[in-house]
Amino acid sequence: MNYSKTLSSLDLSSGSQAKPSRPFNINEVKEMLEQRIQQVIDRQYEYDCDKCTQLSKDISQIIKDAMKSLNYDRYKYVIQVVIGNCQDENVMMTCRCLWDVETDNYAAYVYSNTKIFCAVTVFGLYYF
């Protein structure tokens, strides 16, 4: 989408900023995701229906708090966690985004062992 029209009509005196002081760094976020998820799910973790319901919610909260502690100024976050049983079937996950490519980005990490897989995606969107 062409945001230049929107940007030119922004009233900059009211506190909007067109460029982030520190842009979304994919590698930093990916490293954080790897660390946090491996702390929560260890190699022996098995798939259990009730436990995994709570686990998916817990992981999304943990990652949201971790993103807040990374201190990106004026960024909104969307964190999506998908947990499933590894049982020989196939899963395909796709996303498309309409955003400003200069300021917005996403980082994804997939963890799997023999019993369970966990895919976490973090989207960072700049608030003008």
Partner: protein, 110 residues
Amino acid sequence: MNDIYQQPFVVHDASNIINETIESTLEHQLYQKTKVNLWTSNIVETIISALTKANKSFKYIASCVIMEKNGAGLHTATSCFWDNTNDKSFTIRWENTTMYVIVTVYGLSI
């Protein structure tokens, strides 16, 4: 910020668009590993272009998960750090005899 940028993301418009897109892509189809890439891309791209036509000043994220029905379980969870008054998300769960489809759309105001 002008009021025009403060319109909240309208959920029921989005749900119609998503439902129609899934039905048109997957009705009567059986799960096929070779086609699933094409289906997911088609669904999310159609949703994004339909939402763009509404011409509101929003950023959109559309995510689609297709899973074959084989007895395994799947959980999804989302957490968001955003402006609760203007930003919304919407999830639709659809299934047929051979697969489960979960489509999530997020709309964030600029």
